[in-house]
Subunit: 204 residues, 2 copies
Amino acid sequence: MAVGREPSGALPLTLLAEQFARLPGIGMKTAQRLAYFVMSYTDEEAEAFANAIIHARKTVHACSVCQNLTDLDVCPICSDERRDRSTICVVEGPKDVTAFERTKEYNGVYHVLHGLISPIDGITPDKLRITELLKRIQAGGVREVIMATNPTPEGEATAMYVSKLLKPLGIKVTRLAFGLPIGAILEYADEVTLYKALENRNEI
Amino acid sequence: MAVGREPSGALPLTLLAEQFARLPGIGMKTAQRLAYFVMSYTDEEAEAFANAIIHARKTVHACSVCQNLTDLDVCPICSDERRDRSTICVVEGPKDVTAFERTKEYNGVYHVLHGLISPIDGITPDKLRITELLKRIQAGGVREVIMATNPTPEGEATAMYVSKLLKPLGIKVTRLAFGLPIGAILEYADEVTLYKALENRNEI
């Protein structure tokens, strides 16, 4: 009988689990569970999964206009003639575009920065797609830029930085409203949110 | 300008997200996040991920002895001459083998059923690897079989079913002990666990 190999290192299941564990929010235990689950796939299903990874990675790139991820040269939103191109909503990442699109209320276009300024993580402004945004504005036709980054220190810093670059160009720069989320219970709201809700109160 | 394709259906990123969403415990929102994350991979990293899926699926199969998943004909545990082959620990799935191996206290071998009897889900005893277990025992040399299925209705039913098949063969059949988990706080224990802990109390 062959001497057993130790159950570690180069085992195909372990390698697959390690690949899953690289993904954000997936620990080693969940990764193993996922790897075992894939073992229940047919060969065709496993091929489809593997091909989806390769295909997405190979064909998806940044839209040449808004920098959102797409498999086309210009993404469906930028090439949609019904969208109002005079309004650009500046967001951190592609997920934020999806979030705004879900509201079905925004008809402008987007600009995806692919990150937020965070010197502590080595993310300086030149690492973001800010130059591309300036070029779009210099090309003309833009009336308003909405800074729609998260209400976090990095999001605020990025919004401030970009708006300082844009204001000299005579562009109206706005920021998302912050206040109580709909359905919130006032007594559980944190102090900053409550202060923002008070500061930005509207006449009714 | 080309008329934009609607952002749905056949987009590579959506296809990849759908693949992630098939995995257990991963909803569509998490799946999208994972798909976006994979877009930050280099081509080589994406290939490595895809290959890990294909490779694991192609090479991993049930051990011809214990039915645990392995890429060898006989898994490392079954082929390890230092393991006590007179004791077989019967478990639901490969994850349970990993759990027991982590304790570093069990030196016997395993038998993986690949499921639990659950007629409501269409899982009848013939769908499990019970015949393979009986064959191992008929081949001789087995002294004890430990039923190590979960303390759930399905786990109990499976343990009962298998033990009824084994007892006529003159095999000692045991069941895992159930009681308070180590570190538990008594007042938060559920009634059944507490009852089991009382019922199975030991002299000190």
